[in-house]
């Protein structure tokens, strides 16, 4: 739904200021992210409840490749840095820089998702299917939801690159870049929590 929120029209902000001074789109994005916290809260709670419940198949400690996931986590965190550079370039009305950094951000995000696909495949080959155990179901649900969020973010970043290339006014979409940046950072922060709780703290 974030797509809708981001690209919703400027109605109400054009021509006159808002009561809070913040643009409608920005307030909407913050509210949406607040709502997302509860979504991941529910998923994380489910995982924490079920991570020790392994009737068959591998246990959490046996399937995680922590060095590998640490590297892909680092790549995702670096994408937050490139996102900041994209926002900064957009605010300086530097369309070339914006599209460059957005593309790099999307590539880093895609690397992370690729790593997740590799990791899921490896785990599946080790005998952890979606329905193998409650641990498996809740693990794939939680990390899968996060992966979908990153993927949606990549689609938004690439769409934004296309839109900026088509637009004639430089810096026109600066606020949209900022909003997608908010979403992107949020998804990264959620991953820090998931990585700590799922991978680093032993079950």
């Amino acid at each position: 739904m974030s797509d809708v929120a981001v690209h919703e029209a400027d109605h109400g902000t054009h021509g006159h200021t808002t009561s809070t001074g913040l643009s409608n789109n920005k307030v909407a994005m913050w509210l949406f992210l607040g709502s997302e916290c509860l979504l991941f809260g529910g998923l994380i709670s489910t995982y924490m409840l079920y991570r020790g419940r392994v009737s068959e198949g591998p246990r959490p400690g046996n399937v995680f490749d922590i060095p590998f996931t640490s590297v892909s986590s680092f790549i995702l965190l670096m994408s937050s840095l490139t996102m900041v550079l994209a926002v900064s370039a957009a605010q300086n009305r530097d369309d070339r820089g914006t599209t460059l950094w957005l593309t790099i951000t999307a590539l880093l995000g895609a690397t992370f998702v690729g790593g997740q696909v590799y990791e899921f495949t490896a785990m599946y080959n080790e005998g952890l299917g979606f329905t193998t155990s409650l641990f498996g179901s809740s693990f794939y649900t939680l990390t899968g939801f996060h992966g979908v969020h990153v993927t949606v973010g990549i689609i938004m970043l690439m769409s934004l690159v296309g839109i900026i290339k088509r637009s004639t006014i430089p810096g026109d979409k600066a606020e949209v870049v900022e909003l997608i940046g908010l979403y992107w950072h949020f998804v990264d922060v959620i991953w820090i929590i998931i990585f700590t709780l799922v991978y680093l703290i032993p079950a």
């Binding site: 690209h7 109400g12 809070t20 909407a28 079920y50 009737s55």
Partner: protein, 664 residues
């Protein structure tokens, strides 16, 4: 969003420019119809959407009401044969689902959509297309959930759908799948609506309207939208887990696979208890508008009503486990939730006192709207008191899953939420349609509903304490008992009551038809009202206000009509509503920007049921639906925020050319 320039002449007569798109935008040409069915289908006008929400909710109210009557007919006599056990299970599940998700919530959304922008002096909501999208989602969800009746049977696990009843063994039909996926779509509607309305209230208030000068209805709706914002994602998680279990073989709620059945209960009620306040607070807001107007006094203790509403919003998150006292949570949890549940009665009690003291010493006018508002105070208080008896955990274990619970929540939801909604109908009908509902029929409507509801739900206290379980599909003469407390007598009374209630609702429909046919126009300010929505024509113009008002007071409209004498402190009328409106029209804004209609909301919303049908029956269909969803999102996003000049017809005459200024 396109901008249609609406030149306004000094007489206040609008000349709507005909606008025909000459080229495709975002895939489609823009819809331009201003009359006929197309103007409704593609509208983004918050008032039209409000009416559409209302009509839809009313339809589902009647549907859910018929389901309730069937339930009562089944229980009217021993060994009821009206419904089979299986159909009975579907009936009570769908009755509750329909009333909660497809009647009270959309009806609250109807009032919120229609009146929040008017009450805060705005011309529309912050995201008009998203507003339309929300309506089409909830309509799609309602149709989708009810389709299950024709595809092997509806959901039958009760509205809170506890495991293992929700699992494939106890509920083998696709009913629960339809239910879970349909509620997901309804959740999208609630979430987009909540974001939209919060942004509208925070950002689009008229100049001078600080938060503490906002009408109480808008305030309490703001609290409701925050509750929705944070409660909906929790049920979203629960429904996803349920769908994964039923459709993809996971075992989240399967006890035999080692799952914890309490997980669903916690997730459901963390959503479900805030949901209770989501249902009741809009009605509290409505009567907080109605009582002052018909008492000719300001609301007693406005800040207390506002802050107690916010307090309910906060404390409402800490009471959910009182729905689970019988599930063996352990003494500490039970004690904590017991105390927090008693505590939440306090802010509610504050409101009751405030309303009562608003009436105190007022010049009361007993209109139909006032009847319903006072009815709410009395009936909700009865339901609130039985609620306090649930908070006492030992007594609750006696009451859990009996008719006593059914009595309690019908007193607060029917006596509370529904009476508030009806109060709103009678109060705001002249504003929405320019015609006043018949008062005589309205009072008959009220008394039939009061008698019917007390006859239906009052005896359920006795039935429940005597041990009649909730959701029992038959009772037998042999076990009904004897004397004053025998179950047969009180079941029959309840069933007769439900028919009287039906008659009351029927009178309302008669009233609506009669009023719609009548030629008599309502006066501009029929109730001598106090808030901004009455400061425009009835029904309001498309752009709501000719001039965005500058707000100086709480109850701004009242203060424009009346002035306090500095010596006697008496209020004297200084202007009529007609004079204020004429003054506005004389100083009308020259260029009013209104969002233009769009195809995308209905197109995007229509892809969702395709996906959910695909999830149940065939994954490729879901994938096709998903592709359409993404395409529709792109179409929506690429629809330009300002319509190019080519979207407009060349001006018909010289005069209107002058009024056309370059677009933003």
């Amino acid at each position: 969003m396109a901008i249609i320039e609406r030149p306004v002449t000094t007489q206040g007569v609008e000349i709507a420019l005909p606008a025909t798109p000459s080229r495709a935008q975002g895939g489609f040409k823009r819809p331009v119809a201003t009359t006929g069915w197309k103007s409704w289908l593609f509208t983004v006008d918050h008032k039209k959407l409000g009416i559409m929400y209302g009509v839809m909710a009313m339809f589902f109210f009647i549907l859910g009401g018929l389901e309730a009557v069937l339930i009562r007919l089944q229980l009217a006599a021993p060994n009821g044969k009206v419904l089979s056990a299986s159909v009975y299970n579907q009936m009570f599940t769908m009755h509750a689902t329909t009333m909660v998700f497809l009647f009270v919530m959309p009806m609250a959304a109807a009032f919120a959509n229609y009146f929040i922008p008017l009450q805060i002096g705005a011309r529309d909501v912050a995201f008009p297309r998203m507003n339309a999208f929300g309506f089409w989602c909830i309509l799609g969800a309602g149709i989708f959930i009810n389709l299950s009746w024709f595809f092997g049977g509806a959901a039958d696990g009760g509205w809170f759908m506890y495991a293992p009843n929700s699992g494939p063994i106890f509920s083998p039909s696709h009913g629960v799948d339809f239910w879970a996926l349909g509620l997901q779509i309804a959740g999208i509607a609630s979430l987009t609506g909540a974001i939209n309305l919060i942004v509208t209230v925070l950002n689009m208030r008229a100049p001078g309207m600080s938060l503490m000068k906002m009408p109480v209805f808008t305030w309490l709706q703001l609290v409701v939208q925050f509750l929705l914002l944070f409660a909906v994602p929790v049920i979203t998680v629960a429904l996803f887990l349920l769908s994964f279990q039923r459709n993809f073989g996971a075992t989240f709620f399967d006890v035999s696979a080692g799952a914890d059945p309490l997980l669903w209960q916690h997730l459901f009620w963390i959503f479900g208890h805030p949901e209770v306040y989501i249902l009741i607070l809009p009605s509290f807001g409505i009567i907080s508008e109605v009582l002052p107007v018909f008492s000719k006094k300001p609301l007693f203790g406005y800040p207390f009503v506002v802050f107690s509403g916010a307090a309910i919003g906060f404390v409402g998150w800490g009471v959910w486990a009182h729905h689970m006292f019988a599930s063996g949570l352990g003494p500490v949890s039970v004690a904590v939730f017991s105390i927090s549940t008693m505590a939440i009665a306090i802010p509610t009690g504050v409101k009751i006192v405030n309303w009562t003291l608003t009436l105190w010493g007022g010049k009361l006018r007993f209109t139909a709207a006032m009847h319903f508002a006072i009815g709410l105070i009395v009936l909700f208080t009865i339901g609130g008191l039985s609620g306090v008896t649930h908070s006492v955990a030992p007594s609750d274990t006696q009451q859990t899953d009996t008719y006593y619970i059914v009595a309690h929540f019908h007193y607060v939801l029917f006596g509370g939420a529904v009476f508030g909604i009806f109060s709103g109908f009678y109060y705001w009908w002249p504003k929405m349609f320019g015609k006043t509902l018949n008062e005589k029929l309205g009072k008959a409507n009220f008394w039939l509903m009061v008698i019917g509801m007390n006859m239906t739900f009052g005896p359920m206290h006795i039935l429940g304490l005597q041990g009649q379980p909730r959701r029992m599909y038959q009772w037998t003469e042999a076990r009904a008992g004897e004397g004053f407390f025998n179950l047969a007598f009180w079941n029959q009374i309840a069933s007769i009551g439900s028919l009287i209630l039906t008659l009351g609702i029927f009178l309302f429909i008669v009233n609506v038809i009669k009023t719609t046919r009548s030629k008599e126009r309502a006066p501009l300010d029929p109730w001598d009202a106090r808030t901004l929505e009455w400061m425009t024509s009835s029904p309001p113009k498309e752009h709501n206000f000719d001039v965005i008002p500058n707000v100086h007071h709480l109850d701004e409209f009242f203060h424009r009509k009346y002035e306090q004498d500095p010596v006697t402190h008496e209020y004297k009328q200084i202007a009529t509503a007609e004079e204020i409106l004429a003054d506005q029209e004389a100083h009308a804004d020259k260029h009013i920007h209104m969002p233009s209609p769009s195809y995308w909301p209905i197109v995007l919303a229509a892809t969702l049921p395709i996906i959910t049908i695909g999830v149940i029956y065939s994954i490729p269909v879901a994938i096709v639906g998903g592709i359409f969803l993404v395409l529709a999102m792109f179409g929506w996003a690429l629809e330009p925020s300002t319509a190019p000049e080519t979207d407009f017809d060349p001006p018909a005459s010289e005069e209107s050319t002058k009024e056309l200024t370059p677009l933003v």
